[in-house]
């Protein structure tokens, strides 16, 4: 088999996959009978879609969603904001971290329909035009990543963390819980960022980037 045939086969396979996905989507939307989708003889139970309005990065989006849609899937699959990543999909890695009404959460562990009228900020909303957010710039300057898959979650989490720190949230390693605001030492940064896993183990550089951004933003 020569190179051209390989290329043609690959394209054909991809085209078939896309066509299959499109058929499934039409069936799901109730446009085609479910039995036509993927040759399945068993129709899915009829689902009542729920309307939800999300304020994402300052813009309103009105969506009709299967209630099972997580906030992460709503952003990635419906709004095509793929900056937030799906790592474990079980709240264990932090790659999906976004800010919900200013607070960091795992977007994989909440349903989009629970957030009607809520404001969501994702990595796509951080820069001002071409000017990167200080956290984004610091991650580049300090090489706070290797593969980059966890980075958008790390940066959104750090943004939420810096706000928590400024408003006096203690952490497990804060010696005196009654002090108004714990100093943001490296140990504090590490504890407060423990919900974001980096498989490449860029942790020293991530801590350095966050430390620098914290100083710039304070």
């Amino acid at each position: 088999m020569d190179h051209d045939e390989n290329e043609q086969l690959r394209i054909t396979r991809r085209g078939a996959l896309e066509a299959g996905a499109a058929t499934a989507a039409l069936a799901y939307a109730g446009i085609l009978p479910a039995a036509l989708a993927a040759g399945s003889p068993v129709p899915e139970p009829r689902l009542d879609a729920v309307w939800v309005e999300l304020q994402v990065n300052g813009s309103p989006h009105r969506l009709s969603l299967d209630p099972r849609t997580t906030l992460l899937d709503a952003m990635r699959e419906h709004l095509h904001l793929t900056g937030s990543k799906k790592g474990c999909d079980h709240g264990q890695c932090g790659a999906c971290t976004v800010l919900l009404d200013g607070r960091r959460i795992n977007s994989c562990l909440t349903l989009a329909v629970m957030h009607d009228g809520h404001a969501i900020e994702t990595i796509e909303g951080l820069a001002s035009g071409e000017a990167l957010h200080p956290l984004q710039a610091a991650f580049i300057e300090h090489d706070g990543f290797q593969c980059g898959y966890c980075t958008s979650g790390q940066i959104c989490s750090a943004l939420g963390m810096l706000h928590e720190s400024r408003t006096g949230m203690p952490s497990y390693v804060t010696a005196d819980l009654t002090q108004a605001r714990a100093e943001l030492t490296d140990i504090e940064i590490r504890e407060r960022m423990s919900g974001n896993i980096c498989r490449c183990a860029a942790y020293p550089n991530i801590v350095a980037a966050i430390r620098q951004a914290a100083e710039q933003l304070s």
Binding site: I105, L109, T110, M169, P170, L177
Partner: protein, 326 residues
């Protein structure tokens, strides 16, 4: 995830009434429920969202305690100045649990109802009497490093994973609920969780439709408050053993001490007679060990978790020594 219908509760009474339907579940933070729904360990057919019921306040009680609404987020509770000043064991326990992202979502009521982290409970291809009554327990002779040494049964050796509940236990909290018939009651935290016995799938004394509306704390007892958590990594891991303690001591003598354990049992574990050993006694390694002996009477390991009895002893002795050092 299995299909379900979704609705936003309009009142406590409406929510409790709707939840009587078989297959219905409340959802608040959702951090544990949705995780389990993705794995089809939980398969509710109707989700009742109680986030908009204004149960997110923390109020002072006339008795000098606190009343914590059921949907108060774990992070907000940990950061509340009254909690930090007067209920340090609770603030520290909350901050020891999960990650900041999860604490921003997880609620007071939901944390009390979180399910075990037993690997076999999570794996729907394995027998589990808690998930599928009568199917057996794969943990008894399986990997049981994280499992219970106290309060377990031949049907189930799963532990309760909550840090918050350990602090509530040592603070003598009460769980307030609303029922579908409009009634309400207050359940002492000691009686809220059930031991597995022959029915490990029944984890609390809540009745169908009954909804947690608040948790009430009495005024804090005198003494130093400590929460110490021992785990496989320094942060963002469940407890192998944890101790929540409130110890009133001075000049080398203990006036009173209370302590509860996490990670050892199907519910926060507190033994009154072990606390009595320490009351009005000298603060010494021998009295601390005597208290540990009483707690660990009847403890049983299952191979992988045999280390927990000596670890619980050392953790308790360390916490008591720290509390009485001043």
């Amino acid at each position: 995830m299995k299909a379900f219908t979704y609705e936003r509760a309009t009142s406590i009474a409406q929510a409790a009434s709707a939840a009587v339907t078989p297959g219905a579940k409340f959802i608040a933070g959702g951090t544990n429920l949705l995780d389990l729904m993705k794995l089809q360990v939980e398969t509710p057919t109707r989700l009742i969202d109680i986030n908009r019921l204004a149960l997110d306040g923390i109020e002072d009680t006339p008795e000098g305690g606190l009343r914590i609404g059921a949907t108060v987020r774990n992070s907000d509770l940990a950061a509340d100045p009254r909690v930090r000043r007067r209920y340090g064991v609770l603030s520290r326990a909350l901050l020891a649990g999960a990650s900041a992202q999860l604490r921003n979502k997880a609620t007071t009521g939901g944390n009390l109802l979180q399910r075990t982290r037993c690997y076999y409970f999570y794996d729907v291809t394995k027998p589990c009497n808690k998930r599928s009554p009568g199917s057996g327990c794969a943990a008894l002779e399986g990997f049981n490093r994280i499992h219970a040494i106290l309060g377990a049964s031949s049907q189930c050796i799963a532990t309760n994973p909550s840090d918050m509940a350990v602090a509530f236990r040592v603070l003598d909290a009460s769980v307030e609920t609303a029922a579908a018939d409009g009634g309400s009651r207050s359940i002492p935290i000691a009686e809220f969780h059930r031991l597995p016995g022959a029915t490990p799938s029944v984890e609390t004394v809540l009745r169908p439709g009954e909804m947690i509306t608040a948790v009430t704390l009495p005024p804090p007892p005198p003494g130093v408050q400590i929460y110490r958590k021992v785990r496989d990594r320094a942060s963002y891991a469940f407890a192998l053993v944890s101790v929540g303690a409130i110890v009133d001591a001075s000049h080398g003598r203990v006036r009173s001490a209370r302590f509860a354990f996490g990670g050892l049992a199907p519910k926060p574990w507190r033994v009154g007679s072990s606390e009595e050993v320490l009351a009005n006694s000298a603060a010494s390694a021998s009295s601390f060990n005597a208290a540990a002996n009483i707690v660990l009477q009847g403890a049983r390991g299952y191979g992988g978790n045999d280390f927990k009895a000596p670890l619980a002893r050392r953790t308790l002795v360390t916490v008591l020594a720290q509390a009485t050092r001043a």
